[in-house]
């Protein structure tokens, strides 16, 4: 028999909070998640913003869009909302795109779907097929870089002032720890919340779910009946899987370590940023004109490699402002 919710005492519980051992019903869980997300959005969203949600159709980005639409309706800030979906060309993505379409229709939010093959001349299915097995890089690495480039470009062209991603507390912590392991402090500094963009071509990113654990996101999305698919990308490999497992194990031994680690890392990142020791200087990529720290952006570097492997030219769409440095 299902226990009653420890907060309201009336509805059946659907979720156990690991930190407190509380049993929560769907309503109380969503209320708790909403409170945390709205308080973060108060800091991240400004009047007049046009927020583009990077919507994959998975539970995280679907909940992000749902909560942003709710936040918009309570009018704590006056802003526009839209969604962008990148079709990476994998069978796995198809169900996500359908879910994304359904959700945007339900919420009445404008939705742009862009094909990775249309924008880059190659999709992730082909990347996976042509990558030599001996290479240490997986298709995931390419997918992330090519997708972020596409989202930034489409968001900017759609007049977005912020891109909201569905990254939850677990995702953000994993990324910071991976950057730390690689010694990539500039990447850690760049990926902080509410950071002003160092370039007009780079739309600042916000992560409204950064204070919500993945399992809370899943339970809340299920309770809200969001058309979110729960599939795991079949191409996923690499460092992130190992980091995720290690943090989960650590969490079992030390409950609450996820929140503690993340707030500790944010404190360190804040100190580094405030010291001005690591600045982010961007220029235009020589090939595509998009913002980059080097001569050629990571996306174009990868596409040059892929072009060699595919034995055919890929697409390098160029920005009109490509000559300006900033």
């Amino acid at each position: 028999m299902r226990p009653a919710c420890d907060r309201c005492g009336s509805r059946e519980a659907i979720h156990t909070v690991h930190l407190t051992n509380e049993n929560l019903c769907g309503e109380c869980l969503v209320q708790d998640v909403r409170r945390r997300v709205f308080s973060l959005l108060d800091r991240l969203v400004e009047d007049g913003d046009r927020v583009a949600v990077a919507l994959s159709g998975g539970k995280d980005s679907s909940l992000t869009l749902h909560l942003l639409a709710e936040y918009q309706s309570v009018e704590r800030r006056k802003f526009d909302l839209m969604a962008i979906t990148v079709d990476e060309g994998t069978a796995y993505r198809r169900s996500g795109i359908e879910a994304a379409r359904k959700l945007t229709r339900r919420l009445g939010v404008g939705h742009v779907v862009v094909g990775m093959r249309d924008i880059h001349g190659i999709d992730v299915a082909e990347v996976r097929a042509i990558l030599p097995r001996r290479w240490r890089r997986s298709a995931c690495t390419y997918c992330g870089v090519l997708r972020r480039w596409a989202i930034n470009k489409v968001a900017r062209e759609e007049g977005a002032t912020k891109v909201a991603t569905g990254h939850n507390l677990d995702d953000v912590l994993q990324t910071h720890l991976m950057n730390l392991a690689r010694g990539d402090v500039p990447a850690m500094v760049r990926s902080g919340q509410g950071v002003k963009s160092p370039s007009p071509l780079m739309v600042p990113r916000i992560r409204p779910l950064a204070g919500v654990r993945e399992r809370e996101v899943a339970a809340a999305a299920l309770h809200l009946g969001l058309p979110a698919h729960f599939g795991k990308c079949p191409l996923t490999t690499g460092m992130r899987v190992g980091v995720r497992r290690s943090i989960d194990e650590l969490e079992l031994a030390i409950p609450g370590i996820k929140e503690d680690l993340l707030s500790g890392l944010w404190a360190v990142i804040g100190e580094v940023r405030a010291s001005g020791a690591i600045g982010v200087e961007l220029r235009s990529c020589k090939l595509c004109g998009e913002p980059t720290t080097g001569e050629i952006c990571k996306t174009c570097q990868m596409k040059l490699e892929l072009q060699d492997l595919a034995h055919r030219p890929l697409l390098f769409p160029r920005q009109p402002q490509a000559n300006s440095n900033y």
């Binding site: 998975g58 870089v145 569905g166 993945e214 899943a218």
Partner: protein, 69 residues
């Protein structure tokens, strides 16, 4: 002898200890509580719940993995 209940676990009929919580069952079967959501009779269930006769139990993996933030 401890009381047992008959449940459907991932589609298979099994007997489990009536005093076993879902969290203990997950631990025993190797489902990580941070990466799986338990479903009982088709809807998400709290891990502190005890199982009853005839319950249909499934564990859904929630991790999707996002490359980069």
């Amino acid at each position: 002898m401890r009381r047992q209940v008959r449940v459907r676990l991932e589609g298979e009929e099994v007997s489990v200890d009536a005093h076993m919580r879902i969290s203990e069952l997950m631990r025993e079967l190797g489902y990580h509580p941070e990466a799986h959501v338990p479903f009982v009779n088709g809807s998400p269930a709290p891990e502190r719940m005890y199982l009853s006769n005839g319950d249909d139990v499934r564990f859904v993996r929630i991790t999707v993995h996002h490359p980069g933030v």
